[in-house]
């Protein structure tokens, strides 16, 4: 063996060791539907552990993130490495299209079955329920989904649109499955002059700002703003709530699979789950406590829904909603 080859093989043996010593490096692009502030905190916490990795994130509603991603697939250059979006139905769709990378070594021992894909293509990180919020100045306090069709609520209800929000799409699929008459429930809301325009953030703004008194919204937003002093209250309706799990997944086209895996590991770790708690979310990890303002974990009644049907009907549901609410 020539000296040169010895040197080369020595070098080759050293490179991983050096990389290991310095930790992970390179760029990581995260596409997420988390609000900007939360996404930034998540990224900062990950970077504190992995200072060598530069994380860039893009935030938008899940359907918009997917639309952007599909254009990028078409252009032949998907930008994202990791997705952290609202719902697992969308993830199932991407898995079927063979866009995801399995993370076989992910440690899911603490999590019950069903919170992650059995083949480890995606992993739930939180439990985000959709319920009812009202402005504290409202006279009537709704307690159920059916209450939203009452005359007291007429003209005062705002909802997120499934064209903007992934949680809203699942919510529509859940409610139309669970309520008698399916889409008739939404027709009744429309007859009660409900509006659906933007995402959950828009609902928060309108209800906290008092432009509308009632809103259909994800739990953490009003609970968090109430703690800051905003005049808003959140209700878990008596029929139950719909829920999404904000799953994380790695795209097959990632240029930095090592860092992507580390990001997933971080979200599933105790530390990552406690960050979710600190941010005001219900963490997916069953051992992590619930944030202030929530009832106990077992008191939250989640309505069941058919994930396979939701995936098959995705476009149909969007169109049905758009048709009723004129989008």
């Amino acid at each position: 063996m020539s000296t040169k080859r010895i040197l080369l093989s020595l070098l080759a043996a050293l490179v991983p060791a050096i990389a290991q010593a310095q930790g992970l490096s390179g760029n990581l692009v995260l596409y997420t539907s988390q609000p900007n502030t939360d996404a930034q905190q998540t990224v900062d916490a990950f970077k504190a552990r992995n200072p060598g990795v530069t994380v860039t994130f893009v935030r938008d509603g899940t359907p918009k993130i997917l639309a952007k991603l599909s254009a990028e697939f078409e252009a032949g250059q998907p930008q994202a490495d990791v997705l952290l979006i609202a719902d697992s139905v969308t993830m199932e769709g991407l898995k079927k299209e063979d866009r995801l990378l399995a993370h076989e070594k992910a440690d899911v021992s603490a999590y019950p079955a069903g919170t992650h894909d059995p083949q480890k293509f995606w992993f739930a990180t939180k439990l985000i329920t959709t319920g009812i919020a009202y402005n504290t100045k409202a006279g009537f306090k709704p307690a159920s989904w059916q209450d939203l069709t009452r005359p007291e609520v007429k003209g005062q209800l705002v909802m997120p649109s499934p064209l903007t929000s992934g949680a809203a799409l699942i919510h529509a699929a859940t409610l139309t499955g669970a309520m008698d008459g399916g889409w008739k429930y939404y027709e009744a809301l429309k007859d009660n002059d409900a509006v659906a325009g933007g995402g959950n953030g828009d609902v928060l703004k309108q209800v906290a700002g008092g432009q509308k008194l009632y809103g259909v919204i994800v739990d953490y937003m009003p609970i968090r703003e109430k703690a800051k002093g905003a005049p808003i209250e959140f209700v878990f309706p008596k029929e139950g709530v719909s829920a999404v799990s904000e799953p994380v997944a790695i795209l097959k086209s990632t240029k930095n699979p090592e860092a992507a895996r580390a990001f997933v590991d971080f979200l599933l770790s105790k530390e990552g789950q406690e960050l979710a708690l600190k941010q005001g979310y219900i963490a997916a990890h069953p051992a992590v406590a619930l944030p202030a303002g929530y009832p106990a974990r077992e008191q939250i009644k989640v309505m069941s829904f058919d994930a396979g049907k939701a995936l098959a009907d995705e476009t149909k549901n969007k169109a049905a909603f758009a048709d009723i609410f004129g989008q």
């Binding site: 994202a80 828009d202 989008q327």
Partner: protein, 602 residues
């Protein structure tokens, strides 16, 4: 002899290069995007299929959106027209004090991008308004924000486009010879009669042209209806296009191209009609002095000044105060008081969030880069157009306007169509890179940057250049030695103007941004959509500060510029400008009128 022959051959060669540059720019930035759009709408999938286009155009939501676009554009024009005209007259013919400051502030309000203005008005009214809450005037909870929906869009569009009317009307006033007023005075006419009997008939084509421009700006506007209409499902065509593309993806691009073509057709018809009107009824300002303020208001002056102050308060001061108030409360919906006031939102967007910091850097980079390139391109382009093209320049200048007249959202679709698939031969796609945004900015703001340079170019003396040519100076030498020094201030001003408009724009980048290439306009919209109204306001306040600073730099540069290069200076009385007129170049009117005025279209 031999020496001259050599120089001529070089001149021809250089001339050819310049002509090629002009042609390349016209084709790349204007003709190509327009053709690509036509192709996508008329020949979806490569076959002529007008049915597909008709289906897209006749869907219920498309018809509704077209109706919303037409009514908001039309009614807002009815508001902008009297307001802008009144301001132009008051600041142009009366002896009002501080006309210069008023003109600057009025035009500043149109330079602040529409989505910032929309955000400001949104937070100005309604139960959550920090200002109203602080004053205790906030309407009861559960009452809708009056700025949301049709009425709000019309109001804000009207106020926002009034300065556009003002700029056109001020330019029109400037073209009326002082002799008209003097002759009427000798006849004993009072100022009011001079205005109604002598000036207004001369201003009629400008009035029509201003109305058309305000209408076109209303049709193409995205920021205002996106923030004020989308949350209550009152969608105009540009917002419908955005929503379809951003929620359903590029599968919709064929439908969306058809809608884009519809918007483009309305806009192009409007602008073309306005230009025909201006040219047909042009007042010839030959060697006469232009109009100067002649109406001494006397006791009515204070009342008039209060009117101007009110207009400025409503269009600029109140909205900016509203933004500031929203940015200083911890959460939207809370009143501003000593107990609640906080700088957290500024810290969050300026120091903590990578996205906003990156977006500020990106916008500075893209807008600055585009502005620099455009300033550099404008000089040879103006030279080629004015010196080398003869009559063909009218066609070329018209073509160069396409990308500016196209609503921004439509230009963005054209860019996606052009650059989504990997480029032929090169094999990579510009989509999801900064280059697609830079390309769109170059195309869109070229005619803005070109305007002052073209105005300066027609004033560069041919004789001086001819003398240099006889001395054997080559084209390049003449360009750098003679033309460039006299056009430099105009090129810088054109670049700055492009920067001003590009820095916080949203219409183009809303569809073109991707991870890492967010612009500040996109981040502002995104924050507002995510419900982070206070942080969005903080971003908006910073945008206003940057735009104001750039305007002040431009204003300071104003003394070195050809008359009329800056829209807010056409109305002010400045002796230096007065004396520089009239221009000598005979070709001036035909070229310049096609370029007036270059304030923000959408």
């Amino acid at each position: 002899m031999r020496h001259r022959a050599q120089s001529r051959s070089f001149l021809e060669r250089g001339g050819f290069c310049l002509l090629a540059l002009v042609a390349l720019i016209v084709v790349a930035f204007d003709v190509l995007p327009a053709l690509r759009l036509l192709w996508a709408a008329l020949l979806p999938g490569g076959a002529f299929n007008p049915d597909a286009m008709l289906t897209a155009l006749s869907s219920r939501s498309a018809v509704r959106a077209a109706q919303a676009s037409l009514e908001t554009a039309l009614l807002s024009t009815l508001l902008a027209l009297p307001l802008g005209t009144a301001m132009a007259l008051v600041l142009g013919i009366t002896d009002l004090r501080r006309r210069r400051v008023a003109s600057f502030l009025f035009v500043l309000s149109v330079m602040i991008s529409p989505q910032v203005i929309a955000l400001a008005f949104l937070h100005l009214a309604g139960p959550a308004s920090p200002i109203l809450n602080t004053l205790g005037f906030a309407p009861e909870a559960g009452s809708a924000n009056p700025m949301m929906g049709r009425g709000g869009i019309i109001l804000v569009l009207g106020l926002h486009h009034a300065p556009l009317v003002y700029v056109v009307m001020s330019a029109g006033l400037k073209r009326i010879p002082l002799a008209v007023v003097e002759a009427a005075r000798i006849d004993g006419a009072r100022p009011f009669r001079i205005l109604t009997d002598h000036l207004m008939p001369l201003l009629r084509p400008h009035l029509a042209s201003a109305a058309l421009l305000a209408f076109v700006a209303g049709i193409g506007n995205f920021g205002i209806p996106a923030l004020l209409g989308a949350p209550v499902n009152y969608l105009t065509l540009p917002v419908l296009i955005y929503r379809r593309l951003s929620s359903f993806g590029t599968d919709m691009i064929g439908d969306v191209s058809a809608l884009g073509l519809l918007v483009a057709a309305i806009a192009i018809t409007g602008v073309a009609a306005s230009q025909v009107l201006m040219r047909r009824n042009d007042v010839q300002l030959e060697d006469d002095a232009p109009l100067r303020p002649f109406w001494l208001l006397g006791r009515a002056r204070v009342a008039t000044e209060i009117f101007v102050a009110l207009v400025l308060a409503v269009t600029l001061v109140l909205p900016v105060l509203s933004l500031l108030a929203s940015a200083l409360v911890p959460s939207y919906g809370m009143p501003l008081s000593l107990a609640t006031i906080t700088l957290d939102n500024f810290v969050e967007v300026l120091a903590r969030q990578d996205v906003t910091i990156r977006a500020f850097t990106n916008s500075l980079l893209y807008a600055g880069g585009a502005a620099g390139l455009l300033a550099g391109l404008a000089v040879p382009l103006a030279y080629g157009l004015v010196r080398l093209m003869g009559r063909a320049r009218i066609l070329a200048v018209s073509l160069l306007e396409i990308a500016y007249v196209l609503p921004g959202i439509v230009l963005a679709i054209a860019c996606i169509l052009l650059f989504l698939k990997p480029l032929p031969l090169l094999g990579f796609s510009l989509y999801a890179t900064p280059w697609i945004i830079l390309f769109a900015y170059l195309a869109r703001f070229l005619s803005v940057a070109l305007k002052p340079v073209l105005a300066g170019m027609v004033q560069v003396d041919v004789a001086q250049e001819e003398a240099a040519a006889i001395d054997g100076a080559r084209l390049a030498q003449r360009l750098f030695g003679i033309v460039l020094p006299s056009l430099l201030p105009a090129a810088v001003a054109g670049g700055l103007m492009a920067f001003l408009l590009a820095f916080s724009e949203l219409t183009v980048s809303a569809l073109l941004w991707s991870a890492g290439t967010e612009t500040i306009g996109v981040v502002l919209y995104n924050l507002e959509e995510a419900g982070l109204a206070s942080q969005a306001s903080a971003v908006a306040v910073v945008i206003v500060a940057v735009v104001t600073a750039a305007m002040l730099v431009l204003d300071a540069l104003g003394r070195h510029l050809p008359a009329g290069a800056l829209p807010w200076q056409s109305a002010m009385e400045d002796e230096a400008h007065m004396n520089r007129e009239p221009a000598r170049a005979p070709a001036r009117t035909s070229v310049l009128d096609r370029l007036e005025p270059k304030a923000a279209l959408s």
